[in-house]
């Protein structure tokens, strides 16, 4: 599957590594170039993980990352509201099939979910839950059980 991860903090880089290990096409967007060093250098060098330095709230940056054809977008920046904006933008502007926002505040999780966003908290639990729901890269994306975007009807 084509996966975009915005935010290369501990959650984002762990997820990027795990997804690349499962042969998914991974692109990581990070506003602070120096934080891309948290990604496994060999994976980046080989092109298994593509990196983009830029502000993921901007449409042009999301488009560079391939949002038009992405199967899943994860927003795992350090700020809940930024994750909320980017995921909603992906849903509204690009009809991205599945969008997942990392949030620390459980009340915000509730609000974002009412807008059809899959919201997750807790880094370890999140990575585990995400990985269990994503098939390996060779399978069809339909097999993924992430975020039923249209059915929720919240937007």
């Amino acid at each position: 599957m084509k996966v975009i991860i915005v935010g290369s903090g501990s959650r984002g880089s762990a997820l990027a590594r795990a997804l690349a290990d499962k042969d998914h096409e991974v692109t990581v967007v990070e506003i602070d170039h120096s934080r891309l060093s948290t990604l496994p250098p060999a994976r980046v060098q080989s092109g298994d993980i593509r990196t983009i330095t830029g502000d993921g709230t901007r449409a042009a940056v999301l488009e560079d990352a391939g949002i038009d054809t992405a199967d899943i977008l994860f927003c795992l920046t350090g700020r809940d509201s930024v994750n909320g904006l980017i995921t909603q933008k992906a849903r509204v502007l690009y009809k991205t099939r599945s969008v997942v926002a990392g949030v620390k505040d459980p009340r915000m999780k509730q609000v974002l979910e009412s807008h059809g966003i899959v919201a997750v908290d807790g880094a370890a639990a999140m990575t585990e839950r995400l990985l269990s729901s994503i098939p390996s890269g060779r399978q069809e994306p339909e097999a993924a059980a992430m975020g039923p975007a249209e059915e929720s009807g919240a937007l």
């Binding site: 809940d80 509201s81 609000v111 974002l112 009412s114």
Partner: protein, 221 residues
């Protein structure tokens, strides 16, 4: 009316002052301690430091009894999510937010924010209005932005000068609403209204045809 404002900057500060002056009860939160303190010094205890996207901060601000929530921070992300929190968790009946980036405007509207103010559009339309040429002014989006109210001026020597409105070949769906003559007379145009040089026109037009309308009415003979 009780109003909670998120953002005590160049917009939030004066907005709070004018609402207080109009007799409304106001509370302002801002993540930046200096800005919050500055407003506190001027308005008293109606401002405090806090993140308007936080449930606790909104609870303390009394969002639960607010009739209106206005998000005017410098961050589009905070403005969007702050309004969603206010509406979703505190049932604030009306939310207003500024979207700084034009690409976020539609995202804000789809999220259920009642009034979305696009700051870039406002600045652009004001600048366009001050230009010496006769530009197309996009005054107000309507019907979910599918149509737009525009203002424009008929140039001296324009090909439509002295023509009746009924003879113009306007883009499909375009409606001339009002004509303001250079002497300040206003007229709701009918088919036989004659256009004159320097007339200002207010029109409603499908968004994608606004430029075409402008070209038709601005074309020189």
């Amino acid at each position: 009316m009780y109003v909670v404002i998120m953002g005590a900057g160049t917009v939030g500060g004066p907005l709070a002052s004018s609402l207080v002056a109009a007799g409304h009860e106001v509370f302002v939160v801002d993540r930046d301690p200096a800005r919050a303190a500055d407003l506190q010094a001027r308005l008293g205890s109606v401002a405090s430091e806090g993140d308007g996207t936080s449930f606790e901060v909104l609870t303390e601000a009394g969002a639960g009894r607010a009739a209106l929530f206005i998000a005017v921070t410098g961050s589009d992300a905070d403005n969007l999510v702050g309004c969603e929190m206010a509406k979703g968790l505190f049932n604030v009946p009306r939310t207003i937010a500024v979207a700084h980036s034009p690409e976020n405007t539609v995202v804000f509207e789809r999220s259920g924010i009642d009034v979305v103010v696009s700051s870039a559009d406002l600045v652009l339309s004001h600048i366009a209005g001050a230009l010496p040429a006769h530009p197309l002014l996009r005054l107000m989006p309507v019907l979910g932005r599918s149509q737009v109210v525009v203002g424009l001026k008929i140039p001296a020597g324009g090909s439509v000068v002295s023509q009746p409105v009924g003879d113009l070949s306007l883009p499909y769906g375009a409606r001339l609403i009002l004509i303001i003559s250079s002497e300040g007379r206003t007229e709701v145009p009918g088919g036989d209204t004659i256009l004159e040089a320097e007339d200002e026109i207010i029109a409603l037009v499908p968004s994608e045809s606004a430029e075409a309308l402008w070209e038709t009415l601005s074309e020189l003979r």
